[in-house]
Amino acid sequence: MTMHWAVENLGDGRRIFVSGAITEEADFQPLIALGGEGRLSLDLAGVEEINSCGVREWIHFVRRLSEQAPTYDLVRCSPAIVRQLNMVSNFRGSGRVGSVMLPYYCGNCGEEQFRLLELPPEGASPAIADLVPCGACGGEAEFDDLPESYVGFLARSQNGSRKG
């Protein structure tokens, strides 16, 4: 699996859709140049996995992007991205995490689905619904992670790093 990206031009900036696997093969160079014009959003809903070398490539990317576009947003962050936000210091660079995807799993039919969670600019962690209707069987799908720690990275300042 490799990393893919696509760009959508918006009225006041751009949205970059990143998907696949971020590994040592990931080439972010073309994306850095896109950070200099208008508002920039990185849509990360399609990122399925990141390995250790991919984390380093990403950190280099956001470091350079921070020089180009100090106000970029990370939106629709996939569970793979959320995991790294919780694990790796300064994974977001100078960006703001605007929203995350919440994973749900239906124990009845095995269906996996995602819900969007918009994050407040500052303040308390938003509530995460533990159960939602399963889109496949109509049963109940359970939030498929630990509600108390899934957005634990918010406990730090949006530009801070985890301690402890």
Binding site: E24, I59, M87, D145, L146
Partner: protein
């Protein structure tokens, strides 16, 4: 004071005896009774202070949460010096992520087993104890019941890595492992294989051959240096192992990488050529149980076990077990 002994208060401590430090708030005597019947002598003492000279013990097991903050600090500060360095096994009923930086940094953390409401997984506890006592450390099968047959692959080129990971993923998908758990398994396979292909190979004098190469540069091992890959599932846990013929992984280095990663400091990511220094951190976070077996200069086997009995949430709520075993020859 010694509160429990197999028959009478100890007059003679067998060289492979086991000590449990616990006030028995969690039924440790039940565990010690079971272990005594399975493996021999087990002593239960109330506190670290009561251990005294325990250099004859093969293993000292401690319920970590039962220790006072002072005792937890004491373990980190001087346990190994005070006890003549028997192997330490921490039993814990919570995720120790916030303690791992300190524990790994102390270099004393070689064994952690998670405990749930029913106590530790008795199979994992017995395997841990027997591997420490008998130094028969290798084999994915030790973590599965008889009848589970691991599949085997081998490779000697980094360019074969994607196909091997795909084969493991296909097996996991075929037996119904959910998507998010399969992503963990792929991550572990990727990191295991990168370690075996880039970090493990050494020259005759022990120098690294490829560790400083960018991971985008292909490497090719000799035919006799093939990396063995095994994987299986018993419905409860998915197991994956890789084995290289170098035995070059050093426990201190592993602990140093993990300590640095868990500190979350500015040095969390290595900027030197080669790997990012986060591989073991990603591995441990992706597993329910991470086992490292080392025969220095001969073989390193890493084993990863993922709880696939339920959803990702089931896995994530289960905590982390961890072992490093080194053969007698290195001691």
């Amino acid at each position: 004071m010694v509160t429990t002994w197999s028959r009478e208060p100890a007059r003679w401590i067998p060289p492979d005896a086991i000590a449990f430090v616990s006030a028995d708030k969690r039924g440790t005597n039940g565990i010690s009774r079971l272990l005594r019947r399975a493996v021999g002598e087990v002593a239960v003492v109330d506190s670290l202070q009561d251990l005294g000279d325990v250099s004859n013990f093969a293993l000292v097991a401690v319920f970590y949460e039962e220790l006072s903050p002072e005792e937890q600090s004491e373990i980190v500060a001087d346990f190994s010096a005070r006890t003549g360095r028997p192997t330490l096994l921490l039993l814990s009923d919570r995720c120790l992520n916030f303690d791992f930086a300190t524990l790994f940094n102390s270099r004393i953390l070689t064994n952690v087993l998670m405990v749930d409401a029913n106590g530790p997984d008795i199979g994992d506890l017995l395997v841990t104890v027997q591997k420490i006592r008998h130094r028969d450390i290798f084999g994915l099968e030790k973590y599965f019941v008889w009848g589970v047959e691991p599949r085997s692959l081998s490779l000697n080129s980094s360019q074969e890595k994607p196909q091997v990971i795909a084969a493991i993923n296909d097996f996991a998908a075929g037996i119904g492992v959910p998507t998010r758990l399969r992503a963990l398994i792929r991550t572990v396979a990727d990191e295991f294989l990168s370690n075996a292909l880039y970090n493990a190979p050494v020259t005759a004098d022990g120098s690294n051959r490829y560790a400083r190469l960018p991971r985008t540069v292909p490497v090719q091992l000799e035919p006799h240096e093939r990396v063995e890959v095994r994987f299986c599932c018993d419905g409860r846990r998915f197991g994956l192992s890789t084995s290289d013929p170098f035995g070059s992984l050093q426990p201190d280095i592993l602990q140093e990488y993990l300590a640095r990663a868990f500190r979350n400091g500015e040095d969390q990511i290595a900027e030197s050529p080669g790997g990012a220094g986060l591989g073991f951190y990603q591995i441990l976070d992706s597993l329910s149980h991470f086992v490292v077996n080392i025969d220095p200069g001969r073989r390193t086997e890493v084993i990863g076990l993922v709880d696939v009995s339920g959803s990702y949430r089931t896995f994530a709520s289960g905590g982390k077990s961890f072992n490093i075993f080194v053969t007698e020859r290195a001691r």
